[in-house]
């Protein structure tokens, strides 16, 4: 993480804490630095403090402690309407008594912009989200996806440098959501705006963001680009939360040459990459991605460690096969294999041997 004096910093959270009741902290010691033009997603389960962070940035909640800076200026005491931050709300919050054009014109009106300039900007913003023909309609006459576009256009029409989005796609169906994900990232990159995006949908986070901040229990658990987050989770929460993950519990036997030897609870030994274990005797949770597990012996790489496994369930999913195994006493061990012509289809009850590369097997905190 960059330090607070970073000159690239556009949005900074420094030691920010937030408590609603004076007894528990919803946000604990948040430090975050965002450069201009970044698309950052705050991802986490509900109650993890991500929305609170967004609201503090927008100015609707005040930080109990710490400093929030925007472009190097502390905004702790600046009211929301003077921050100039665009925001897209979960339920869109389009004003129902105004037409679409009036909705978009509103932020320009309160900025005392002239009528012709307003009309031009509204038109441009509506065209940008392909809603040019809907200016005269009311929000209730639009579909969810259309409302979503209008909400986006309204947040962008006054040309803010920072746009906040609070689970903006939550109410849309899957297909529309995927389409909008693409459109939002495309728009953000085209306009060069900085976006803070809040979601609890990890697919959304991974596909849209430059960097993802995984929140849990009021802290950022990991802040990394999507690929790093998925492939190199720094702790077991992130490993569990992002993507599908197999967990095996055990104790570290020894750490040598960048490899940790872990004895699983049923006695078997495996090689892992030590991530946040440091000495023998520590309890650990070993994490392996389902698609990194291999059972075809010919494909197993030289020197790979193998474990005995029993097939419990085989699910045909079209593009992939999903197989549930019993491994080292864990009944929920999942492996995913590509549906290739030469791929073996397993049958329940079959005894197999599975293996993986030690780098793909990460020994995390217990």
């Amino acid at each position: 993480m960059a330090d607070a004096s970073n000159s690239d910093a556009f949005v900074e959270f420094e030691r920010v804490q937030k408590s609603y009741d004076g007894e528990t902290l919803v946000v604990k010691d948040l430090n975050l630095v965002m450069p201009k033009g970044e698309f950052l997603t705050m991802l986490g389960p509900s109650g993890s403090g991500k929305t609170t962070c967004l609201m503090m940035l927008a100015g609707f909640e005040t930080a109990t402690h710490g400093d929030i800076r925007l472009g190097g200026v502390s905004i702790n005491n600046i009211p929301p309407h003077k921050r100039g931050i665009g925001m897209v709300f979960q339920n869109y919050a389009l004003f129902p008594h105004m037409t679409i054009a009036e909705n978009l014109s509103f932020p320009l009106e309160v900025r005392k912009m002239g009528k012709s300039e307003r009309e031009e900007k509204v038109k441009r913003a509506l065209d940008m989200v392909e809603m040019g023909a809907f200016g005269g309609r009311r929000p209730s006459q639009l579909s969810g996806g259309q409302q979503q576009r209008v909400a986006l256009a309204r947040a962008l029409v006054f040309e803010p440098e920072l746009v906040l989005m609070d689970e903006p796609l939550g109410a849309l169906d899957k297909q529309l959501r995927e389409k909008m994900q693409f459109e939002i990232t495309d728009l953000a990159h085209r306009l060069g705006i900085t976006v803070v995006y809040v979601t609890h949908d990890q697919t959304e986070a991974l596909t849209m963001s430059d960097r993802v901040a995984v929140f849990n229990d009021g802290r950022i658990q990991q802040l990394a680009p999507p690929d790093l987050l998925y492939e190199e989770p720094e702790n077991s929460f992130v490993a569990q939360f992002i993507g599908e993950n197999n967990t095996l519990e055990g104790t570290v036997k020894e750490i040598k040459d960048g490899l940790a030897l872990v004895q699983l609870d049923d006695g078997e030994l495996i090689d892992c990459k030590p991530v946040n274990v440091s000495q023998p005797g520590e309890r650990t949770r070993v994490s392996i991605r389902p698609e990194r597990v291999e059972y075809n012996k010919e494909r197993l790489q030289e020197g790979a460690h193998t474990l005995k496994a029993e097939v419990l369930e085989f699910i045909y999913m079209g593009d992939i096969f999903r197989t549930r195994l019993r491994v080292a006493g864990n009944d929920e061990f999942i492996i995913k294999t590509r549906n290739a012509p030469d791929q073996v289809r397993l049958k329940p009850g079959q005894q197999i041997e599975i293996g993986w590369l030690p780098e793909d097997c990460r020994a995390l905190d217990a």
């Binding site: 927008a58 100015g59 309407h81 665009g86 979960q90 004003f95």
Partner: protein, 423 residues
């Protein structure tokens, strides 16, 4: 499907038109639903709609004259009221014949009372004549003109006869004219003398005060409703109980309490005098006038404004205000441009409720209104229970009803009735 290519009505499987088939299928359901509401429907019809219709009918009904004096009414048709002379012997003979029958049935006093509304003194004239006429014999005592004038010289007065003639038709607009301070004169409708004009003033006062009460209710209720809608549920419930608390007390008690508060020796005046803000000999007059009525009625009707406002405001998502602020609106602009327009349906519903309740209010103005603060409803009550002029009361009530409907219509035209929401 093959049906889509067919023209004409869509048919059910057995060949009957689908619409009829559907109606038959739903008939049983409709009947059952109707039976469920039938007791209430019947109750309302018998105890509410029929009496009101009957009451409204009384505002134009005027059978009593032609029923009590059938022969006289016929005889009077020939008489010219503008001749300045009393009618001829035939009319008096008819009157004698009618009165003998009427005295027998004791209906002549009721007729007297009815005509007395139009011309003072007729009531006693009929009662006095009734006692004498009882002993007359139709065949032997003729002619009657002199005899009637002997009983009371008012029988020679063309004005008395004109009144009888004017009110001889079975239906009359007299009550309505009376309600708007007019009367049937020699040349049709004319304004009443200045000192008898009362109803127009009362109607205007009722309207004006109801509007003031509605406006004060809006001003007082809006912030309360806003707080109610924005507090966390538990505090909101407590506050809601406080709002509804007045309903737990009788209307009479609340109004009397205002009397205690507002009177010259009352709590407020005592405090003001004690604080030295008001001299002891110049205590404020806050009761038995319009001020007292407005204060007490605003208090009593306030919950009816708060409740619809609250239920509408509850549906306004707080994210609208946040959105407005994030778009650069100040607190005030966000409220005025975004929150307020969405709360208008609540204001509308509350205003209609309060205004219609206020315009027909009776108890509170009666107790705290004195003479300057009474409403038209107090006058209606007076005619119903004291003067027994039900026709006039009905006419006043009908006018009130029409005014309310007109206002409702105007509201629909200006604001739109779709814009009224109770939640």
């Amino acid at each position: 499907m093959s049906d889509t290519t067919q023209s004409g009505p869509v048919l059910a499987a057995d060949g009957t038109p689908l619409k009829r088939s559907l109606a038959r299928a739903l008939r049983m359901q409709k009947l059952r639903a109707l039976m469920l509401i039938a007791p209430l429907l019947l109750f309302i019809l018998l105890t509410f709609i029929l009496p009101i219709a009957d009451m409204l009918f009384r505002s134009v009904e005027n059978r009593i004259v032609s029923d009590t004096l059938p022969k006289t009414v016929v005889a009077l048709q020939e008489w010219d009221a503008n001749s300045g002379e009393a009618p001829g012997e035939d009319v008096y003979a008819a009157l004698a014949a009618d009165l003998i029958v009427a005295v027998e049935a004791k209906t002549h006093t009721r007729l007297g009372t009815r005509l007395n509304y139009e011309m003072t003194g007729i009531s006693s004239l009929f009662r006095k004549s009734g006692r004498k006429v009882k002993r007359w014999d139709l065949a032997e005592d003729a002619p009657f003109k002199e005899k009637f004038i002997d009983i009371d010289k008012d029988w020679a007065d063309p004005e008395v006869w004109r009144t009888i003639q004017t009110y001889s038709p079975k239906y009359t607009n007299g009550y309505f004219l009376n309600s708007i301070d007019m009367q049937k004169g020699a040349d049709g409708a004319e304004a009443r003398p200045e000192n008898q004009q009362i109803y127009i003033t009362l109607f205007q006062r009722t309207m004006f005060m109801s509007l003031v009460i509605t406006a004060s209710c809006i001003v007082l209720a809006y912030p309360i409703a806003w707080i109610l809608a924005n507090l966390p549920a538990r505090s909101a419930n407590l506050l809601m109980i406080l709002v509804l608390l007045p309903f737990w007390t009788s209307l009479l008690v609340r109004t009397s309490a205002w009397k205690v508060m507002l009177q010259q020796q009352g709590v407020i005046n005592d405090v003001l005098v004690w604080l030295g803000l008001v001299a002891d000999d110049a205590r404020l007059v806050m009761i038995n006038n319009q001020f007292g009525t407005i204060v007490a009625m605003t208090h009593i009707l306030l919950p009816f404004m708060i409740l619809p406002m609250y239920s509408v405001m509850q549906t306004i998502n707080p994210s609208y205000l946040r959105a407005a602020k994030s778009l650069g609106a100040t607190n005030w602009t966000a409220f005025w441009r975004v929150y307020f327009p969405q709360s208008v349906p609540g204001i509308g519903a509350g205003s209609i409720l309060v205004f219609i309740l206020a315009i027909g209010y009776y108890i509170t103005p009666e107790i705290v209104g004195g003479t300057k603060g009474v409403f038209i409803s107090n006058r209606i009550a007076y005619h119903i229970s004291s003067s027994l002029n039900w026709g006039l009361a009905a006419a006043l009530g009908a006018i009130l009803l029409v005014v309310v409907l007109l206002l409702y219509w105007a509201y629909d035209k200006i604001v739109g009735i779709d814009n009224v929401k109770l939640g």
